[in-house]
């Protein structure tokens, strides 16, 4: 056998092994998360939207500074609207960007005053004003949130309170338990979105709706 044939043969062999390994790994991924870590998915009082009786729950781990999260925001809203009363979304904090930890505290403080959704919508829409080179600027984010009609003094007190810090710490810990390493990370009725993409999320939600309704 000459050297060129050997080289091409070995290249093809390595390529096939790699593709097979990827395929095997993907097929062995659990389509549902383990029962013992299920409680980490939802915590009471986490911001949620959609019918209270909804049998399908999308859990989204997000960072307000994350660009893809802001792109997914209207898409997730559409899903909740499309399946009125059947699908709800629960938002969990995953402050992975530098500086985001304070920003999610501000969001939680807005949540205490019932203003989570307008606040998160505002932050997503104006990301370029308070996220610079992937680093969150909490003071700028706070200024943005304060344009909303809410009690400024209470907001200031709340976001620095230990109560809010505890909620964020719980979300971060739950994120680690569920191996959330990137945002947004979606779970639909306990099933993680394995292949990332909007179509894939829609399919996962459709399947879940078909299963319980």
């Amino acid at each position: 056998m000459n050297n060129k044939t050997l080289f091409i043969g070995v290249t093809a062999f390595i390529g096939i092994i790699f593709i097979a390994a990827v395929g095997m790994y993907k097929s062995q991924q659990p389509s549902k998360i383990a029962t013992e870590i299920l409680p980490a998915l939802e915590r009471i009082n986490a911001p949620a939207k959609g019918g209270k009786q909804a049998k399908v729950t999308i859990v989204e781990f997000f960072d307000p500074a994350c660009g893809t999260c802001s792109q997914f925001y209207p898409l997730v809203n559409n899903l909740v609207k499309k399946y009125q009363g059947k699908v709800r979304v629960v938002m969990r904090y995953a402050p992975l960007h530098q500086g985001s930890e304070d920003v999610v505290k501000m969001l939680e403080a807005a949540h205490i005053q019932g203003k989570f959704w307008p606040a998160v919508k505002l932050l997503f829409a104006n990301q370029q004003r308070w996220v610079e080179h992937h680093v969150s600027q909490p003071s700028k984010a706070l200024a943005g949130i304060k344009t909303l009609p809410l009690d400024h003094d209470q907001l200031d007190r709340d976001w620095q309170s230990s109560k809010v810090a505890q909620i964020i710490a719980q979300d971060v810990q739950d994120g680690q338990t569920l191996k959330v390493r990137a945002t947004p990370q979606f779970f639909v009725n306990g099933k993680p979105l394995v292949v990332f993409g909007y179509e894939e999320l829609v399919n996962l939600v459709e399947e879940a709706v078909a299963e319980v309704y």
């Binding site: 050297n3 060129k4 070995v10 390595i14």
Partner: protein
């Protein structure tokens, strides 16, 4: 004066060693990409420095195989030495011989974290150190076998 047939085998020996080195770097590259892109393990700073030393060889070595060019050993060696030292440093960090504070890892990805362990000792930095050591050895042997041919 050697006859032509020994010359061909000697050169072939050197070629085979470089070819082995290429298989090694290609496997290493794909394995590291498998862990980061498919299994989604986070990549720490030290891992990136080792990747910088490893990945170019995947492209570089085949150019020296067709046609055979022994000079590639000269160009590949600095990369292998650099990668070897970073891997050694990484292994020492993981083994806690070098303290956490002395290492350059930031942004929530500690280099001292072990994600993967085979047979109780074979974690990713150890694999990397073994790869760079073996690579150095292969390049050395290839050079030696080529030199023998020309003396």
């Amino acid at each position: 004066m050697k006859d032509k047939s020994t010359l061909v085998t000697e050169q072939n020996n050197s070629w085979n060693l470089l070819f082995l080195a290429w298989i090694l770097v290609t496997s290493g590259t794909l394995i590291s990409l498998f862990f980061s892109e498919i299994v989604k393990l986070p990549v720490c700073v030290l891992c990136w420095y080792q990747r910088i030393a490893l990945y170019p060889l995947v492209i570089m070595l085949p150019f020296a195989l067709f046609p055979f060019d022994v000079n590639v050993i000269r160009y590949a060696t600095p990369l292998v030495i650099f990668g070897w030292f970073v891997a050694l440093f990484h292994v020492l960090v993981v083994a806690k011989i070098i303290p956490e504070a002395a290492q350059p890892c930031v942004q929530g990805i500690p280099c001292s974290e072990i994600h993967f362990n085979l047979f109780g000792f074979l974690n990713i930095p150890v694999m990397s150190l073994l790869t760079f050591s073996l690579l150095g050895l292969l390049l050395f042997l290839a050079k030696k076998s080529f030199n023998k041919l020309n003396t």
